[in-house]
Amino acid sequence: MDFLTLIQVLDSSVRLATPLLLACLAGLFSERAGIFDIGLEGKMLAAAFFSAAIAYMTGSVWVGLLAGIGSSIVLSLLHGAASITFRGNQLISGVAINFLAAGLTVLIAQSWFNQGGRTPSLMGGGRFEGIELPFALGPKDAEATGRSLSELIAEAGPISQLYSELISGHSILVYIALLCVPATWYILFRTRFGLRLRAVGENPAAVDTAGISVIGLRYAAVMICGVLCGIAGAYLSTALQAGFVKDMAAGRGFIALAALIFAKWRPWHALYACLLFGLLQALALRSDVVEGLVRVEVPVQVLDSLPYVLTVVILAGFVGKAIPPRAGGEPYVKER
């Protein structure tokens, strides 16, 4: 495998890791506050649909993004109402949200667009395009020289290849997702809000007796979870692909949960875990590279299943003991 191929695989890993990372951080905020959320998948799916649909109708991807975030927040609040206010079972509420989103998105898509449960393809301003960082080789250089971009990159030096292919050229959402990692770390471990958020996930009674609202903190966490899931979903339909198709979240919400456990609820480790899953997904797209490496023909289906196999392995606890936030999954009932 040459250097350029490696760069291309890594580039693809970053793109595929982005929705996982956003969803994983979303789950991190929620679970650190003691609210388990297996509805990440459903929220991403709803956001993917509404951002694509609204972006198509308005022609503006930014309006689409807002719509996606809005739809995800609505589902978050539903989860919050069920599990915080009414002290219901968080797993069941999450499952319900997944079913709701899976059915509702296709139903509304069919009713609005009559294209078999998908949105029309997004073009131009309806999509997030890649951002050319300064001095990177991009489509403009290709236009200026009249040659294809891939040719230009293939001829460039390794540093230029690394910069142009791996670092430059992603959509804004990829960069936002990456910035969310240090931001999450900072919020959790360096701010008052973070201290309280972590405390409410460990021992809500301690927070309550300190005179802080347990309910307020948990709703805040669930809202942040909604925003991040919304961005993740919008990324799927308006950046990674150009439009919504049925079930396009494809289990990413669950893979993000596995990554969260793998990362033991820590932001930087969440990044590494998501990049690992992203790499596995990228390799599935490049079976030629895998065959070059292992020198055996590997069926694509096997490669496709690898992220899910890793998920099962992680959830079965083969990667060491992961201790979730102690009050996770338990509704808070005030008692002496």
């Binding site: 471990f189 008052r192 021992n203 005179g211 005030k334």
Partner: protein, 514 residues
């Protein structure tokens, strides 16, 4: 003193939970710079009253005055603002946070943590030194002992500038020396002008540290007296509403044959930690052997392995015959058949199923008895219910209704159900762990009488308790456990709390003498 405004004055506080009147028209004045005890049995309404004061519940009626000013306390935040700090029976600490983070939580100075933590660290060191709290700000809560955890709770209140400190059953989890340390701290706080409310059901603590004591019974305040002018028997009578025997009335033991012989018993837990190290002792018929020690020094493992719940190595003989410790006969059922009955330490976890009715709970271990079989397939539940009703009558379980869930009985009555079931088995050896933990005075008296009666009937009793008073008053011989070993045996008539306390802390005989 009389013209000074009380630190706290409650007027006509009432609170009902459904049909249960937890507090009835309670009025109380707590003077500043005093330690005021509130004593009462479990369920007398002490904790409810304090929860109202700390903003956890809202009173149905009544007024609260703090330092002479009428104050509304709708939530904990308001209580903290009014200068009230509370140390709950079950600590409200975040286990994987440091001491410093726990103290700062909810009392931060700004949105960023760094300046708050720096300021708190400085303040914490000062307070810790001033009141001899000996707290390490960077230690994690899960890695420090309960004594220090409790001091962190006190620090939390002091850091929030509390003038009034409420402690709810603070010594339940402490060793005698830790409790003494706590009382020294409380006296120091009092000298600084703080007002302290001590809620407890232990008469000795009231007599030791309080200036004034209020007694509660069934939601009502029955009396407020100066501690110097009262006595334990008088307080006990006010608490229970009748005369109570505080010391256990018993004749000297007349021990017979050896019933239980334990030789070199060892237990290693799942994590590979040796919990019990070569323990040997005997219990004879007609005597009570008391095992004293701070919780967690191997007593639980000893009871579990004797009761057939856990496995161990070594030798156990009952009435001269060996008991299988590791094989397939090493279980509770076989032990019962051999004549061992077991009142486990944690009745809610091992003694009862809380969501089962009383008659179902008393049936455990009797399922195969002839008298409860209707035919080869069905049980005769009516017989079981009738027997349960009879047992409940005999063991004074209140209310005597076999169809109530175990969880709806008070702690003392739950324990009586377990004791009734185990003693009625007519065992040769009774294992008892913490028989009166969380049990009110009236029930303690009753349970103690049952244990003495069993002894006098010529049975062997192995009593494990962390309450030194209980061990001293019931036992005919006392063995002290520390770190999985028996540190020594003493005659209760010839020893005292100081000597036992040293043994409990692992100080061996020679050092005691020196």
């Amino acid at each position: 003193m009389t013209d000074q405004a009380p630190a706290i004055e409650l007027k006509g506080i009432s609170k009902a939970f459904g049909p249960v009147q937890a507090n009835k028209d309670i009025s109380i004045r707590v003077m500043p710079g005093t330690i005021h005890g509130i004593i009462g049995e479990n369920g007398a309404g002490k904790s409810t009253l304090m929860s109202i004061l700390y903003g956890f519940y809202k009173a149905d009626k009544g007024e609260i005055f703090i330092q002479g000013n009428k104050t509304e306390i709708p939530d904990s935040q308001a209580a903290i603002r009014a200068g009230i700090g509370m140390v709950f029976q079950h600590f409200k600490l975040v286990e994987n946070f440091s001491v410093l983070e726990n103290v700062v939580l909810g009392a931060e100075d700004g949105a960023l943590l760094k300046p708050s933590l720096a300021k708190a660290r400085f303040e914490l060191m000062r307070l810790s030194e001033e009141y001899e709290l000996n707290v390490d700000p960077d230690a994690l809560i899960e890695e420090i002992g309960v004594g220090m955890q409790q001091r962190v709770e006190i620090l939390k209140s002091l850091y929030r500038k509390a003038d009034i400190l409420i402690l709810d059953e603070p010594t339940g989890v402490l060793t005698p020396s830790e409790a003494d340390h706590l009382f020294r701290i409380l006296r120091g706080l009092k000298e600084e002008g703080k007002t302290i409310i001590l809620i407890t059901h232990k008469l000795r603590e009231i007599m030791d540290v309080t200036d004034t004591v209020s007694v509660m019974r069934r939601g009502e305040m029955t009396a407020t007296v100066k501690t110097a002018e009262t006595s334990p028997p008088q307080l006990a009578e006010l608490m229970v509403g009748r005369k109570v025997l505080l010391s256990v009335d018993k004749q000297p033991a007349s021990p017979g044959e050896t019933v239980l012989e334990v030789k070199n018993l060892s237990v290693t837990d799942e994590d590979g930690v040796q919990r019990l190290k070569n323990v040997s002792f005997t219990v004879r018929a007609g005597e009570i052997l008391g095992i004293a020690g701070v919780a967690g020094n191997g007593q639980s493992e000893l009871l579990e392995v004797l009761g057939g719940i856990a496995k161990g190595t070594g030798e156990i003989n009952l009435n001269g015959d060996a008991i299988d410790l590791t094989g397939k006969h090493s279980d509770g059922q076989t032990r019962r058949a051999r004549g061992i009955a077991h009142v486990p330490e944690d009745r809610q976890r091992l003694g009862l199923i809380m969501d089962f009715m009383a008659w179902e709970n008393t049936g455990f271990g009797y399922h195969n008895d002839e008298r409860y079989q209707k035919n080869s397939l069905l049980m005769d539940n009516n017989a079981l219910r009738a027997d349960t009703a009879e047992k409940m009558e005999r063991y004074d379980v209140r209310p005597p209704n076999p169809k109530l869930m175990a969880k709806s009985f008070s702690g003392g009555n739950q324990q009586k159900i377990v004791v009734a079931r185990e003693i009625d088995r007519n065992p040769d050896l009774l294992l008892v762990g913490q028989p009166t933990r969380g049990v009110d005075i009236g029930a303690i008296e009753f349970i103690h009488k049952q244990l003495i009666a069993l002894r006098d009937a010529g049975k062997a009793v192995l009593l494990v308790s962390v309450e030194l008073d209980e061990i001293m008053s019931l036992s005919d011989r006392i063995a002290v456990m520390f770190d999985g070993q028996i540190m020594g045996e003493r005659d209760p008539g010839e020893t005292n709390e100081t000597e036992l306390g040293l043994l409990m802390a692992g100080v061996t005989d020679t050092e005691t003498a020196a």
